[in-house]
């Protein structure tokens, strides 16, 4: 209780006398309690100090009818609002533009404390405007505050555009994946030989014959020299290098689905026949220790096919062969009914039936042929066939 110290000092000063004995330093509890800050007061006061001077009837009157100050403030607010309405009504409805043409006056806008701009609606006096017809229903009027209104005003920022094309890789087989991987790797090897970054193979390019050029290349891998691409046609390597852009364009256009589809068609055209077993060509033994090269290959495959590999699969693929097998693997079915075991059960065993969706009582009625009778009767009587006709009911869904 720091406030007791000045209190003690004050008491000491007032009570000090030359002939008095030792200065009394004792302070009683009530003085200490009064000197303490209000937050530490432990005594229960039955009367609020501020209300002690105001009689009960006056406090009741003020709580019911308001104090003089609050009444005066409310009156002042009403007068100001009425004055504002008068000013708005007296303002001209039209203004003239630069060519002296009469145009409708734009609405007054203000900014609130959060920085949002809002318009102040016009006040129309029906007595002043003869063409004004007061609406009797709300059809066609602007609505404020509905769910649609909120959704329309929300998310007015950036519009999200997806970066990946639709996944078209489901119909590719082994030889086609090999063809595609070969094309991407040849481009990456050619750029690496020229001292350029492998990432450039992913940059947008306009119409080139790089597919035919890479088809003519021969890939050879050795543990000493790494992966080397040799071209049978003279000048093919240079043309392929020039087809890949060296600079990223200023305005990056997103790849359209048609572009990736065309590239995929070119990729899988003239694919060789399937290899027996799980054998992979020798050039797929190339290690993928360079993360830049690995990412460039995966990104280019994503751009062409839309196929995304999971991160754990990418990190556990040390060579091109691992990547090839990961691309070849079919994704796990999301539902049990789509698994090959249950599909075989449904087809091969006559007494077993596998349903893909939940079986409802309507399905059971349909099995025994009762549903069509029920449905006809409900329609004849004008009753809802499924559920009730509340707002938002899904009609025709079983």
């Amino acid at each position: 209780m720091r406030a007791t110290r000045p209190l003690e000092q004050a008491l000491r000063l007032t009570g000090s006398r030359p002939t008095a004995g030792p200065t009394p330093t004792y302070i009683c509890l009530s003085c200490r309690a009064r000197a303490a800050p209000p937050s530490s007061h432990r005594q229960l006061h039955t009367t609020v100090p501020r209300a002690a001077d105001v009689p009960l009837y006056q406090r009741l009157k003020e709580s019911l009818f308001g104090t003089k100050e609050s009444v005066a403030a409310a009156k002042s607010r009403e007068e100001k609002q009425a004055q504002r309405f008068t000013d708005l009504a007296e303002r001209p409805r039209t203004s003239t533009d630069a060519d002296d043409n009469e145009v409708a006056r734009p609405l007054e806008t203000k900014t609130d404390k959060h920085g949002r701009r809002y318009e102040i609606a016009d006040i129309v006096d029906p007595a002043a405007r003869s063409d004004y017809v007061q609406a009797t229903t709300w059809q066609g009027l602007e609505t404020v505050g509905s769910v649609e209104w909120v959704k329309k005003r929300a998310d007015t920022g950036d519009v999200y555009a997806g970066f990946a094309p639709p996944d078209r890789s489901a119909r590719l087989r082994g030889a086609q994946w090999e063809m595609l991987l070969r094309h991407v790797v040849v481009e990456a090897v050619v750029l690496r030989k020229a001292g350029r970054s492998a990432e450039q193979i992913c940059w947008p390019r306009e119409g080139s014959d790089s597919w035919s050029l890479t088809r003519g290349a021969l890939l050879e891998y050795s543990s000493v020299g790494g992966l080397v691409a040799t071209f049978s046609e003279a000048g093919a390597e240079k043309r392929l290098r020039n087809a890949i852009p060296k600079k990223l364009p200023e305005v990056q256009a997103t790849q359209t689905p048609e572009d990736s589809g065309d590239q995929l068609r070119e990729a899988i055209a003239l694919a060789p026949p399937e290899r027996p077993g799980n054998a992979t060509p020798a050039w797929m033994a190339m290690p993928l220790q360079d993360p830049g090269l690995k990412l460039a290959i995966i990104k280019r495959i994503l751009q062409i096919t839309g196929r995304r590999l999971p991160d754990p699969v990418i990190s556990k693929s040390p060579t091109l062969a691992h990547l090839y097998h990961a691309l070849l693997a079919k994704p796990k079915p999301k539902r049990l009914a789509q698994t090959p075991q249950l599909k075989r059960l449904n087809i091969n065993i006559p007494n077993a039936t596998v349903h893909a969706g939940r079986q409802t009582p309507i399905h059971k009625d349909k099995e025994v042929g009762r549903w069509k009778v029920i449905e006809n009767e409900l329609i004849n009587r004008g009753l809802p066939v499924t559920g009730s006709r509340y707002q938002g009911a899904r009609i025709g869904v079983y």
Binding site: L336, Q341, L342, R344, L345, N348, H355, A356, R358, Q359
Partner: protein, 137 residues
């Protein structure tokens, strides 16, 4: 005149001449998402095909029930149904339950109070106070 034997009609009993399996249909309900359906999902992919091939007389239906525990449901000739929830069970345990449903008759489970149940009449006759040595007060 020698004692005439009683003429009785042969009473039909399932299994005496021919056997009719009482269970006509089994429904298997599972969930793709719930963890309690893990054993059931494994049972459906691994064990059910063999069971279905061994029991061509039982109609088997497999359908999902999203967001619910896995359930086995048997339908019987007497029109009754029996359901068993197989949540968190292993495939072997689920097979035991399936065998239980298959072997059932559909009758309600009752506690047997009498030690012997027989369709035959009493061999020595039912006691009555009017026959025998009498009762002296």
């Amino acid at each position: 005149m020698p004692l005439q034997a009683l003429r009785t009609v042969a009473k039909p009993q399932n299994g005496v001449g021919a056997f009719i399996l009482q269970c006509k249909r089994l429904d298997f309900h599972y969930c793709d998402w719930a963890g309690s359906s893990k054993g059931m999902n494994a049972f459906l992919t691994k064990t059910l095909p063999a069971f279905a091939a061994r029991n061509p007389g039982i109609e088997l239906h497999v359908s999902p029930r999203p967001g619910r525990h896995p359930v086995l449901r048997g339908a019987y000739i007497n029109g009754c149904h029996k359901a068993i929830c197989v949540r968190n069970m292993q495939p072997a345990e689920i097979l035991d339950k399936v065998q239980l449903l298959k072997a059932g008759s559909g009758e309600k489970l009752r506690r047997e109070r009498r030690p012997v149940k027989s369709a035959n009449e009493s061999v020595r006759g039912v006691w009555s106070p009017f026959h025998g040595g009498g009762y002296k007060v």
